[in-house]
Amino acid sequence: MEQFLQQLLNGIAVGGIYALVALGYTMVYGVLKLINFAHGDLFTIGAYLGLTLLVSAGIAGALPLFAAILLVFIMVALFVALIGFLLERTAYRPLRSAGRLSAVVSALGASIFFQNAIMLIYEPRVYVFPDFLRPTFTISLFGFTFPGIRLFIVGVSILLMLLLWAFIQKTRVGTAIQAVAIDQDAARLVGINVNKIISLVFLIGPGLGGIAGLMVGLYYGQIDFTMGWGYGLKAFIAAILGGIGNIPGAMLGGFLLGIIEALAAGYISMAWKDAIAFFVLIVILIVRPTGILGERTAEKL
């Protein structure tokens, strides 16, 4: 029982990270019908920038640990959001009318550019988050003791998703994001500035992705410049699993993938957890080609 709960919570923590990254893929896909292949690298930038701000810039030393982490979360979100915004302006917008393949090539190019930029700035080696950055407290719940960092990550990711959900559902601009995803021309006809909405999505998605990158650093304690590839792929799978373009789908897909992986690693085989996760993806897509909550067909990729 204890082991099961620990694995489950681990799965929810990792799943929350997948979900935050998956939201970036799915929201961009929603408004542009484009897979932003550079999204995983924005996630990596979040991890590196977070480490730099906490350690090299000395924010961790200047403030109590929790305040420092929260402040750096916000700074990372803003900075990575800005990079996402500039990415759309420079790599995607000029190609808007040039057809989908050009945009895909541009996305792959942007991904390589970011990966190389990180490698050149930070050197191609593994970076370790110093132990003092990683909260070591534990929390007791229902007679079990859980690592505080796990609960912290679960809490932050769920909070961010609730905020996003409320924004999308309850505000005028959030509804406009949905409208642009449903029918871009109809959105124009009601007076929505579609370019502004696309820019906004490229602020929100990368902002969340950057926070997720920093979370991985805090959770596992080490990062490297290729981490965006693996996490990006997993999050992309999560987005497909939930139904690409569908916001609650990305959340559900992320948590589902994280939990399946963690339980597979704990009860079947650590080495086979990725294979099992892919197997589940394939089974779900055979049963429901549009993903769990999706309406659009996956072929539209």
Binding site: I182, L189, V190, G191, E295
Partner: protein, 236 residues
């Protein structure tokens, strides 16, 4: 210059020109109709006015302003709203959210609340279904929603693209009397219709479009009795 003026307007899809130098004008307060068979270029004309297509040459003036290179959201802001062909409602949003989005360009929320109430008066069905997803409405209800959504922008000029398409006859006459009521409130209407008979009875003037050219332009009365119009669009 008229309230709305299209002068020498040519529009292309890719390299294919489908509107060849159209001239058309609408005075404030009028209902003007554009007739023409399938593929004549009626929808293209309305989409170009709304800024979804940009002309290859020629100009569009509205209320003294040049719309020719203006982005669509600014055109809505100037007071031109459109209920497009095929309704294009936001199917996975509620009726109420569709209407609210219609007022996206309107900054005065209190006024929008009044407009919603007026639209519910015009279309009581929309009130009954306000919390339903737009995609679950019948074709006629979706048409009401598309018109209601356009009215939410508080337009001075309303562009309607085939509002009666696919509707039962009873519903058609109800939609047409609604258009008349809207016009009475001071909204100028440019109406594209396949149902030429009903459109000409409603409109003050009409244009006949054939393969991207205006071939006839007259008062609705005279078009109704014009033999070639009767033969081509009114079933003899």
């Amino acid at each position: 210059m008229a309230f709305l003026t299209l002068s020498n307007l040519s529009v292309c899809y890719g390299n294919v020109e489908v509107l060849h130098g159209i001239n058309l004008s609408v005075e404030e307060g009028e209902i003007v109709t554009i007739l023409g068979s399938n593929g004549a270029g009626k929808s293209t004309t309305l989409l170009t006015i709304s800024g979804l297509l940009s002309p290859r040459s020629g100009n569009i003036f509205f209320n003294g302003k040049d719309l020719t290179a203006m982005p669509s959201h600014e055109i809505v802001g100037l007071g031109i709203a459109q209920s497009p062909e095929g309704r294009r409602v936001f199917s996975t949003l509620t009726v109420l959210n569709n209407l609210r989005l219609g007022a996206y360009s309107v900054t005065n929320r209190q006024k929008s609340q009044k407009t919603i109430e007026w639209i519910y008066e015009l279309f009581p069905r929309l009130y009954e279904r306000r919390n339903q997803l737009a995609g679950t409405l019948s074709g006629g209800e979706q048409q009401m929603l598309a018109i209601g959504r356009a009215l939410m922008a508080e337009p001075r000029l309303l562009l309607l693209d085939e509002p009666s398409l696919g509707l039962a006859p009873l519903l058609v006459s109800s939609i047409f009397s609604t258009i008349r009521a809207v016009n009475k409130k001071g909204v100028t209407v440019l109406l594209v219709e396949q149902n030429a008979n009903a459109a000409l009875k409603l409109a003050k003037r009409g244009y006949v479009l054939e393969t991207g050219r205006v071939v006839l332009e007259d008062t609705a009365e005279r078009l109704l009795s014009n033999p070639s119009v009767r033969e081509a669009y009114l079933g003899g």
